[in-house]
Symmetry: D3
């Protein structure tokens, strides 16, 4: 297989990393939705569940960390393009049966390249912040199932996680 | 339970978020090791495995993203203290049976507070970068099992993941 | 009042913070002008007034801090959109009677959302820098009257401070 | 007055800006407390007062912006030293009579230089964030009375605002 | 010569620095190519030449630093506009006769202002990173001949270095 | 030569990049001085020479860019440690015979690792800013002779450029 056929688009024909050319791509509306979860001990789960401005709003802090993290994506991921995000949302769901917090984030832009990394980074920063805020109680929390749920817009079309 | 007994140390007695006082804590050597993995399709796994300066060194780029990400932790995690890291390492292992890449990162400092978040952020940024570099080939990759393996130094003593 | 009628547009219908959707808003020319002042002791005022490349150009440093600060707005204000600023200016006026420095900043873009926060952040960073540069002489300086003077462009129309 | 006697310590003897030498200063505990307020219309004040995770927690978001802003001080203020903050707090008080929100922030470190700018920046970022979150309802809000309340530690001794 | 005729466009008519207005300029494709070199001792040159994932890939690390540095240009150069880069490349050539590494970088955007500074910053960050990685062996390395090779797009037309 | 004997300390024994361990190194006073120059056409040189708050103070802006750039070094150079700088200075000299501006920067810290990269980055950012401010008049300016002049402190002892 010659390099020019390689699906590793972040490398040029001689295998060198580059920021790929998106200058000729259409300015279309693009959206990506990502998801992940963090599992914890039952007592930690209760602490998170009862968060409030009075008792300590873990998820409120994590939501902001996710939104702000999405804006830092191009600083963190070496070959990502800087993107003018037009919308970011971060939501949480308490999974009682699994003693886990599910985080789902969406990112949107109108531009020449997709926002998958922005949505994934938002989830990541939100989940890491939950870890940070609860770690004094529970250092064994585990982040898992972090992945892209769907993305739309752009030449490669839609992706919906099976 | 009164708030002052809460294990959510990132909130004060009235439940408000703050950056906790570490001014009186001892300046000790602190180390943390974190780990996570990213699973992918067999063809993607082959692309990563055969990375090289000629063909595109996915893991080399991801390693740098992890190291640089560790330095940005206090920018990303709202209540983290800025920390003068004295060492960061990021390693990968190819898990053939699971078609996954395992990432392990360590962070160290000599200071008044721990570096768990720095090690976790390093793993995170490294794995997200692998996702970014391979996503044109495989948007269904999944990051999982992201957690703290061990930490040493500091008043709360050592933690070793069971 | 239902949440969807709330003027707090930075929260969704369930009260959660989000970065609001500007993807469908028109790309128009937008400008905002903000202003603030810092009051000081007469001797400090003289130091600032006589600033020069030979004696220490306080206002020259503060102007740059304002311009550069405007570019960091989306890093600082959690729910602000990243914006491609097309112009930033920062001006000072010495208010002799009040022994104060007045700062006025303008920010402009062509895009889907306004630049009020960029103009306000520019003023803020400029005034804080004056404080920083003069604080060894005068720690009692006070910043006041920091507000939006006017903004134009966008669906909500013009605002001119009464 | 010769320049070497100038209280503008951020300039050298020939009037050029520099980051002053703190290498020989004692590593002492330093704390600074700053304060400011934002005035608004009665209806806006009610929106802020009734903030909650259900209705939109304006002050919760602003508190985080203040804490995170303190960590960015050396990025924003040109001649500030980078500082390893050991503690940051941000508090709000609702001033009913004035229809204003008072913000008070403290910053601490153990190091060779003071943290006045960090405390002031925290207040600033918190108040600007309140402006941002309420501006759709009230563009005429005014930030005022932003100043240092007190600082302790360091060779120049304590300062307490009269 | 009146100031309005000055070629120093970064200053207004009264000589004050500002971020110039590009709001009315055409959104055109713009590209800039810059170049520079770093000279070193023969033994250091051999270390760089034989870089590989096994022995330490100096140029791979430097390439990433260049690409990421281009994205930080507006943070570093006070009066630069933030720019949505659409492409960045960084290449190296080993100049055997001169015992030097030549770095060439290109930056592209579709927008109202040029990307000369982004290309130059990419070269700079790449060469500084080579210095950093080899400095334990050779502190006498010298960076030279850093300049713009060509730029195209925009009202001022093309520039090609003679 | 085995890797463990390699002078490329930024790579571990298997050739992987890492941030080297400085945790056990002595906290000593460290200083580095770097230098570089930018050559320009005679007319451009005159513009820079006559800079003033009235006509546009190119060197004043460039000095600040250098100082602020030094603080961003660990963000730009992938394997650099974050460093608490205690002092930064940036000076310029007009080289009439060569129609060039010479920039010299010093950086200092009290810590476990050197500040060569901080001094070099300061020079770099200052010279690039001169380029930016004068480029409308002269795109052919060339940066050269950028190198470390001397460094002191630390186990490897002093280096003075021959």
């Amino acid at each position: 297989m010659s390099m020019s056929d390689s699906p590793l688009t972040h490398f040029d024909a001689s295998g060198q990393a580059h920021m790929v050319d998106v200058g000729a791509k259409a300015q279309t509306h693009r959206i990506a939705i990502a998801q992940g979860r963090i599992s914890m001990q039952p007592a930690t789960f209760e602490l998170v569940r009862h968060g409030s401005p009075k008792k300590g709003d873990v998820l409120g802090v994590a939501r902001l960390a996710g939104i702000m993290g999405a804006k830092r994506t191009a600083d963190l991921i070496p070959l990502c393009h800087p993107i003018a995000l037009t919308r970011v949302t971060v939501e949480f769901e308490l999974l009682e049966a699994e003693q886990a917090v599910l985080c789902r984030a969406s990112a949107e832009t109108v531009g020449p390249t997709g926002v998958e990394m922005e949505a994934l980074t938002a989830v990541n920063c939100a989940l890491l912040t939950i870890y940070d805020m609860c770690k004094a109680a529970d250092r064994g929390m585990v982040i898992s199932d972090l992945r892209l749920l769907e993305k739309h817009g752009g030449k490669s079309g839609s992706f919906v996680s099976p």
